[in-house]
Amino acid sequence: MIEQVYLIPLLPLIGFVVLGLFGKRIGNEKLLGMIGASTVGAGFLIALSIFFGMTGMQPEERSHVVRLFTWIHAGDFTADLAYRVDQLSILFTMIITGIGFLIHVYSIGYMHGDKSFFRFFAYLNLFVFMMLNLVLANNFLVTFLGWEGVGLASYLLIGFWYDQKFEGTNITWTGDAAKKAFIVNRIGDFGMLIAMFIAYQYTGSLDYDKLQTAVVGGLIPAHIITYMGLAIFLGCTGKSAQIPLGVWLPDAMAGPTPVSALIHAATMVTSGIFLIARTNVVFASSHTTLAVVTGVGICTAFFAATVGIAQNDIKKVLAYSTVSQLGFMFIALGVGAFWVGVFHVMTHAFFKALLFLGAGSVIHGMHHEQDIMKMGGLKKHMKITHLTFFIGTLAIAGIPGLSGFFSKDEILWKAFSSGSPVLWGVGVAAAFCTAFYMFRMFYLTFHGEERFDHHHVHPHESPLSMTFPLMVLAVFSIIGGYFGIPHAVGALLGHAPNLLEHWLEPVFADADKILNHSHAAHVEPIEYGLMVTSTVIAIIGIFLARSLYRNYGKASTEPTAKLGGLHALLSKKYLVDELYQAVFVNTFYTLSNSFLWKIFDVKGIDGVVNGTAQLIGGTAERLRRIQTGVAQNYAVMMMAGIVAVLGYMVFVR
């Protein structure tokens, strides 16, 4: 089955082509949705069978490369379209196709009646195709194809409702948000390009295994490895919305909600984590790079969590929460705990997809209202959505027993043990904010007084096509953590094995060796202390939110507004967008417009050209006189010139 891995991306590609070319003619929503969902669903089944096939093999035999054809070849440079099936890529493939399938099903209900129904599914299929290329790639270039390709799909889907307005700093239309996402990501892609140049220069190839061998074998100078790691990481900050390139993700919420769930929460934004996991030895070999990754991760996790407190748009709260959670994943990678980062990708994919789809269900039921201040009391109108959303919220808050607890707690522990107590402290603070803002949103949405206009809004539960994915994801948001039970917890559960860590071990073996990590299952008592502390702090956050927002009414005032200037700063997202606008956008625009074009180009170069022309005795004037408009004259003159030169030659001779 492994040899047929290309079918997994091929099916959604076929779906994209069929839906794109014939979708309008097909017209039938059910059929269109079936086509879109089935290509991804079939991919998921293939991925599952490959996965189970792999479990029957020896760990070192599980990595497999399938070459399709040579994509680009010039001189010594060769890049094949080749897929690499191993423990890491098959895991991501299952997440992408599995959650992707559920979100396709959900979209059949959510997008019902949209005039461009077929176009939506075509784009979603395109996205899945590109995302699979990204994770299945055997070399940088195919990853880059997927990397930019998901950027394209993201662009198309953020601007899907191209004629609708969207509020944001210097953003008027959804298309502006789409454009912003693409351009900011391009800045990251610039880093990817540089990393690829370096890889080719030092290994003569873009294949990941060649790179790994070269790094492990010490063939690349240490400072070059650092440059390369930082260049890769620049790409990751773009795709995974970290400081300083995280500004696009909140605006990406302009897209339809299933898009936010699939692309901007569960899959695409975790590309950065994937890429670092894939090139783990590059990172493990440079303390500088690891420190930068950790620093960026913790700052992003903390600052995004604080911003989440002051947002009132249900999707923007989730967007900042995503940015913050991605920050947590980078902390794990930064302290060298690669498998933990991947673990959090997985659990986060479950509960964040659940939360976004739940938010979509609320928005659907509320006739496209997204302001949580205008909701309240939805519990009794949307029972399934309420319950599943509650599970998702508990999971992200890190309540023991649910998936989020396992991965987040392991990150905090690694931050403490491989990093520093300060790192742990800031991480716990961010976790506290997370628990607080998530439950603030939960209570404002589902509890308290009904603050919407009852004449126009009649909240209702969503159809089964939407609630079914919610229920499936809710189940996984609970059990998803048991695939990667940390040793400390495992010790309490009768030495339950850590399946995920064990599964991924061969992928990170070299990096672990470089970092002197051992997988011995020793447990330190302090770990329990930290675990209890962080859990108690999260629970305090939940109860604080509960006491402030559970009975929020029409006449209530926002309690966090008492924070005054700080609240204003948070609600304006630390004014980062404004800063970028002033420092980068305006500077480049003014420079280009006022100086480069209007002065340098037009007055400078053209001035010289025109001036020279006039200087040479009015050449232009004469040319105008010769301009008889008869082609023959010109040909004659040209020939005369040539003949004159030839004559001179002959004469000289």
């Binding site: 440079f77 930019e148 391009r186 280009s592 417009n593 105008r624 030659m649």
Partner: protein
């Protein structure tokens, strides 16, 4: 099989010339007859040019399908034609773009059709000649021949300031080519002094020219380079291009961007690299620096344009910068990347101009602020325009990426540039390309369609589709499987690169 190749060389050159004459015999009021005769001739030349690729011997690094007849015996000037992998691709690009340009003119050109279509075919004759000529004099004749039809295309069928643009185009080019003529004559003279006879034969000169003492080689290099860099155009010699593009009719812009600009980059490889290897090494950092400046400068200036056509024109300055950078990396990645980038730019930029032409025909304005939300009335156009835009942005999977990427890889590793900064700075051009194209697209296509004049615009017609679809197919093909085209330039590029390497090593050893 080989015979087909010779036929292809002759027919791709002379079918357009015969066509020019044929159009001359048609009554000027028979507009349909003129249009279709022109189109049929251009299609015939396209079909007949295909054996240049299908019969091409991929393992041969030299010229193929050579035709060599004595022309001016006393001067050693021959009517010498032939192709290598690079020129075969460029000739087929020419014969492909021409029917598209011609067909796109059917509705757009409504005055003096007879002269117009005759000019187009004559222009094709000249351009094909430049790519096929293996004799410096013959090359020069074709090079100058092109000026005439292009001058009139802009000057007669152009926009409001067409005369200014046409004269500017003419002057710029003439200044450059005069020096080239001097250099051509000097080369022949040098051959007479040192190799036993005056010659203009490029095949012979490729052996003779590299022996020229390096200080003289440098002057020769500069004389050719000036002429070619104006044509490219390389910063800071680019200011004729925006005017020429804005004033030219759509077909003129299509040909200008699709083929004419490649004459310059073709010349840089054919003459500068192949004839003057030592001087190429000497000047590579300077020309590469100008290329890098052009990439960034063109992109920055493109951002602030309010006229869509001018925006695309400045984007060409940026994109051609990648070609020049690749050429002067002088390794195989760079030069092959430059060649494929020429082809790619020759497909995606004409497509962009055709798209601009589509909205210009409907509104007779190219001012971005006049548009907005066109997608709601022109959904099919939106898709096609988006494909052209993303090809130009350099999205992997579409054609533009392949060339840009390889030229950057080439520059990054180039043994003659000695610095990563050329590639790193140029790579920022990739970011800016997204800025100017996506911003333009946003303002033209997205948002609500609230300008009353745009409310009832017609979506792309069948005729317009006929010009755009072939380009879409090639854009995807070249993006997914560029090898079908890159294989042609592999051997000839390899020999050029090795030659430069050899001469460079020789100089290094001599100086030790």
């Amino acid at each position: 099989m080989g015979e087909l190749g010779y036929l292809a060389v002759l027919s791709s050159l002379f079918v357009p010339l015969v066509g020019t004459l044929a159009v001359g015999f048609i009554d000027r009021n028979q507009k349909k007859a003129i249009q279709w005769t022109t189109l049929v001739f251009s299609l015939i030349s396209f079909v007949l040019s295909l054996p240049l690729l299908t019969s091409f011997n991929l393992s041969d690094s030299g010229f193929q399908f050579e035709i060599n007849k004595v022309w001016i015996a006393s001067l050693g000037v021959g009517f010498h034609l032939g192709v290598d992998g690079m020129s075969a691709l460029l000739v087929v690009l020419t014969t492909l773009i021409m029917p598209i340009a011609i067909f796109s003119s059917f509705d757009a050109i409504n005055k003096r059709e007879k002269e117009y279509y005759a000019m187009l075919l004559f222009l094709q004759f000249g351009m094909t000649g430049v790519f096929l000529a293996l004799d410096t004099f013959l090359f020069y004749v074709f090079w100058e021949l092109i000026l005439i039809p292009m001058y009139f295309l802009i000057g007669i069928w152009g926009g409001q300031d067409r005369i200014y643009a046409a004269v500017k185009f003419f002057l710029y080019t003439v200044v450059g080519s005069l020096l080239m003529l001097v250099a051509i004559v000097w080369l022949g003279y040098y051959a007479q002094q040192n190799a036993g006879g005056f010659t203009a034969d490029i095949v012979k000169l490729r052996e003779i020219a590299p022996t020229i003492p390096s200080h003289i080689q440098q002057w020769m290099f500069l004389a050719f380079a000036l002429s070619f860099c104006i044509k490219v155009p390389l910063f800071p010699l680019h200011t004729w291009l925006p005017d020429a593009h804005v004033q030219a009719p759509t077909a003129g812009s299509v040909i200008l961007a699709g083929i004419l600009l490649k004459l310059g980059t073709y010349g840089l490889i054919r003459f500068n690299l192949e004839l003057f290897p030592q001087a190429s090494v000497t000047f590579a950092p300077i020309l590469s620096t100008l290329a890098v400046i052009g990439i960034i400068y063109g992109a920055l200036v493109a951002i602030v344009q309010t006229d869509v056509k001018k925006l695309v024109a400045y984007s060409s300055v940026s994109h051609l910068g990648f070609v020049v950078l690749g050429i002067f990396s002088m390794n195989q990645e760079g030069v092959q990347g430059a060649i494929i980038q020429m082809i790619n730019h020759g497909l995606s930029t004409p497509m962009l101009f055709l798209c601009v032409g589509v909205i210009y025909e409907r509104r007779h304005t190219r001012d971005i602020s006049e548009f907005g939300g066109l997608t709601s009335v022109m959904p099919r156009f939106c898709v096609l325009f988006a494909i052209a835009m993303f090809a130009s942005v350099g999205l992997p999977g579409l054609n533009g990426f392949v060339g840009e990427y390889l030229t950057l890889v080439g520059a990054f590793q180039s043994p003659y540039l000695h610095s990563w900064w050329y590639a790193i700075l140029s790579a920022t051009g990739v970011i800016f390309a997204a800025v100017y194209l996506l911003w333009m697209f946003q303002r033209v296509m997205f948002g609500t369609n609230d300008n009353p004049k745009n409310h009832s615009l017609q979506d792309v017609t069948r005729n317009e589709m006929a010009t755009l679809i072939p380009l879409v197919i090639l854009i995807v093909w070249l993006g997914v499987y560029p090898q079908s085209f890159m294989k042609y330039s592999a051997q000839s590029t390899k020999s050029v690169v090795e030659k430069i390497h050899k001469h460079h090593q020789g100089t290094m050893q001599a100086s030790r």
